[in-house]
Symmetry: C2
C-alpha cells in the first residue's frame, strides 16, 4: 500500500437536505489547538457555549449543552434518559424521522404509540390530543422538520395540548433549528435536540440539547453515579431511588448534566474540536440574530421554490407547511433521477439529495440552509440544474429557474 496523501476533498456545493457545506469560520474555529479537559479556560468555554445555545433554543433552561455524537445521539440521549422501560410514549409520524423516534423509543423499552399522516402533510394538534386521551403517554416525541418530506410540523398548539394534559414534549429539531422559528419556552417544549449539519452551518458530530427543569428532575430521579468516581454522598442521594437505571452510560443525561454542571463530575472526555465548532455555529447565529437567520432561510427557500417551479418542475407536499430550508421536487418523466444527480455532482460539483421510502425515485430534495442559504448558491444551482435537465431530455423553461428566483430577490 502506497502511503496515503493528506486529505484533499473535491470542491462541492452541497445543496441537498444536509449535511451542507460548512461555514468556513466554523472550520477555522475547529482548527484551534486543544486545552485540557478541566482547564479553567475549557470549563469557562463550555459554560459560555451553554449560554449561546440558550439563545439559539430561545430558552432559560439551565440544562442546555452538547451531546458528543451526531444528532441521532442527541435523540437517543433524550429518549433513553426520559423513558423508563414500560412507560408510554406517543409519536406523531409524518416522515422517516418519526419512524426513527419510534425505533429508538422501542429500543428503550417504552410502549410506543403513533399517530400517522401521509407523507407530505403535517399532524393536526387535535389528532395528538385525541391520542393523548386514548393512550395516556408520559411523553410526546415529535420531529419539527422532517427532511424526508420537507414538512415543518407546527408545534405551538401541540405544546399547549401537552401542557393541558400534563404530558412532557420532546422535539427533534435537527433539520429545522436556525432556519425556522423555534421557541422552546414559549411553546412549552421540555426537551429539544439538534445537530450542526443543517441550518447551523457546521459538520455533523455534536448534538445541542436543552432540557426544562421538570424534564431535568425526571432524568435526575434516575441518576446513579458510576462506580469508579462515586462518593459517600451519592449513596445518600440515591437511597430510595426506585426508578429504572438509565440503560446507557454514554447517553445518560443525568451524568452528562453533572459533567457540564458545577460538580464537573468526570464522564466522557469532551470532544473539544466539536465543542469549538458548535460554539462557533451558535456564535455566528446569535451575532446574525435568530430572527434574521430564519428570515434569510425563508427568503432563499422561497427563491429556490420559485426557481424550481420556474424551471417547470412540480413541488411535492403541502407547500404551506414546507420547511424554509428544503424543497422536494418531482423528478420529471423520462429523467433518471440518480443519473441526473450524478451529472450535477460530477460536472458542476453541486450535490442535491435523493429520497427515502415512498418517495425514493420520485423526488429530489434541494436544500438552502446554513452557509448555503445564499443568493449565489441558489442561482448557481438553478442554472446548473437547468443544464442537466436539458441534457437529460426534459422539457425545461430556458432561464426560467434563475429568472423566477431573481424575481423573489427583487421583491
Amino acid at each position: 500500500m502506497s502511503p496515503a496523501p493528506p486529505i484533499d476533498p473535491p470542491a462541492r456545493l452541497l445543496m441537498g437536505p444536509g449535511p451542507i457545506t460548512a461555514d468556513p469560520r466554523v472550520l477555522r474555529a475547529m482548527s484551534a489547538q486543544l486545552v485540557g479537559q478541566y482547564d479553567p479556560w475549557m470549563t469557562a468555554t463550555m459554560t459560555e457555549t451553554m449560554g449561546l445555545y440558550r439563545e439559539v433554543f430561545r430558552t432559560t433552561n439551565e440544562q442546555t449543552f452538547l451531546v458528543d455524537g451526531t444528532s441521532r445521539a442527541g435523540i437517543e440521549a433524550a429518549l433513553v434518559s426520559l423513558l423508563e422501560p414500560g412507560q408510554v410514549v406517543l409519536v406523531p409520524v409524518f416522515g422517516r424521522f418519526g419512524h426513527l423516534l419510534v425505533e429508538i423509543a422501542t429500543r428503550c423499552g417504552a410502549q410506543v404509540h403513533t399517530v400517522e399522516v401521509p407523507w407530505g402533510e403535517v399532524v393536526p394538534a387535535e389528532m395528538v390530543e385525541e391520542a393523548i386521551l386514548r393512550v395516556r403517554p408520559s411523553l410526546v416525541a415529535c420531529v419539527q422538520g422532517d427532511t424526508s418530506t420537507t414538512m415543518c410540523q407546527p408545534l405551538a398548539e401541540i405544546g399547549e395540548v401537552c401542557r393541558r394534559h400534563d404530558v412532557m414534549l420532546y422535539v427533534d429539531a435537527t433539520a429545522s433549528l436556525g432556519g425556522n422559528a423555534f421557541e422552546t419556552d414559549a411553546w412549552g417544549v421540555d426537551v429539544v435536540t439538534a445537530g450542526l449539519q443543517k441550518c447551523l452551518g457546521g459538520p455533523s458530530g455534536s448534538a445541542p440539547i436543552t432540557i426544562s427543569p421538570a424534564a431535568a428532575a425526571r432524568i435526575d430521579a434516575r441518576k446513579v453515579v458510576e462506580a469508579g468516581i462515586r462518593e459517600a454522598a451519592d449513596d445518600d442521594a440515591e437511597a430510595g431511588n426506585d426508578h429504572a437505571v438509565i440503560r446507557s452510560n454514554y447517553l445518560d443525561l443525568a451524568q452528562v448534566m453533572d459533567y457540564w454542571g458545577p460538580r464537573r463530575l468526570n464522564h466522557h472526555t469532551e470532544a473539544t474540536t466539536m465543542l469549538y465548532g458548535a460554539r462557533e455555529c451558535a456564535r455566528l447565529l446569535v451575532a446574525e440574530g435568530l430572527d434574521a437567520a430564519v428570515e434569510r432561510h425563508r427568503l432563499h427557500g422561497a427563491a429556490m421554490l420559485a426557481g424550481v417551479r420556474g424551471l417547470g418542475l412540480t413541488v411535492f407536499g403541502d407547500v404551506a407547511h414546507k420547511m424554509h430550508n428544503v424543497v422536494a421536487v418531482e423528478i420529471p418523466d423520462g429523467i433518471d433521477g440518480d443519473a441526473a444527480r450524478s451529472a450535477l455532482l460530477t460536472e458542476f460539483g453541486i450535490e442535491i439529495g435523493t429520497s427515502f421510502g415512498p418517495l425514493h425515485g420520485r423526488v429530489w430534495r434541494i436544500g438552502t440552509m446554513g452557509y448555503n442559504a445564499r443568493t449565489d448558491a441558489v442561482l448557481t444551482t438553478l442554472a446548473c440544474l437547468e443544464q442537466v435537465l436539458r441534457a437529460g431530455g426534459a422539457e425545461v423553461v430556458a432561464g426560467g429557474g434563475v429568472a423566477a428566483a431573481r424575481e423573489v430577490y427583487a421583491a
Copy 2:
C-alpha cells in the same frame, strides 16, 4: 450579553494522561471542507480510513471503522452490541476504567463478574482463567492501559486463555493504542476500541473499532434494520432471529457495519470532520510505522520516568508494567498537589494530571504521548516542574530531572 469573540484558546503544553495537544497536521486536516454523505469521494475516504485503521490495529478484520463519539461511545457500542441481557461477562479490574466496563456492561443488562487486583498491579492470566472456569462468561472485557494507575495489562496470554476456552475477548485500548504494542490478530482479540486523544495525537470525539469475523457474526445475528429504511429482504433475513434486539440504535454496531459496508445503509450522518481527523491520525501513525511510534513512546516515557526520579520523586505502581505514555508520581510531602498543578498551568502553560479514587491527592499523572512524545516537551516539563516543586518548598535535586532525561536520550 456582549457578542462572544471567535475562539482563542490559551497556549498549553498538555502533559497529562490525555487529552493531549493535538498534532497540528490533524487539526489542519480537520479544517478541510465537507462533502456529501454519499459522495463517491466520501465513501472512498471512509473505505480508505478502514484500511488505515486495519494497519493501526494490526488486523485483517474487514469490520474496522469509526464510532461517532468519544472513546466511551466505542466501549458502549462494543458491549451493548455483543452482550444480550442476561449474558455473562468477566471483567478484570485493575483501575478506574475496569470499573467503567463493569458499569457499562451492567447497564446492558449483562451478568457481570470481576476479578480485581490492587491499583498499581496488572491481572495475572491465571486469575482470568480460573474465573472463566468458574463463571463461564461468553465475553471477557478488559482494559489494556488504565491511565488511572498507569498500568498496561499484558494481553497475549489472556487472549490465549480466551481462545482455549472459546470465550470472546473485548479490549479497550483507548489510552494505549499507538504508544504500546497492540496485536489484535496475533493476540486473538475479537473486538478492540480506542480514541484519538491519547497516543494517536488527535482530539476526542471519534472511536476507532475493529471487530473479528466471529464477533461480527455474533452482532449481526441480532440485527434488525430500522423501520424507516427496511426492505422486504430484511424481513426474510431477520426471520427466526430469536436474539435480543440491541438496546441502542445509535451504538448498534450491526447497523453501523451496514453503513460502513457495501450496502451503505443510512444510519447516522457521519461526523465528517472527525473522520478527517481520525484518518489523519492513522495516516501519520502508519507513515511513521507502528513499531517506530511505539519505540518513540518507549523512549520519551523512559526519559520522563528517569527525569521525575532524577528530581527526587517517587514513582507509583509496578514500573515493569507501566504504559510507555504515562507515569504516576507521588506528590511530595508538604506540597499541595492541586496548587502545584495550578502553578504549572498558569505560570508555565503546562498541564499535568490529577488522579481518581484511591490515588486522588496522592499522585500526579504525567503523560508523554502522541504529538507530545517529544524531547523538547519532556525536558521543558521537567525544567518547569522543578521550579514549581522548589517554589512549593519541596526538596528537589537542582537540574536533576533534565540531566536524568538527557542521559536516557544520550544512551
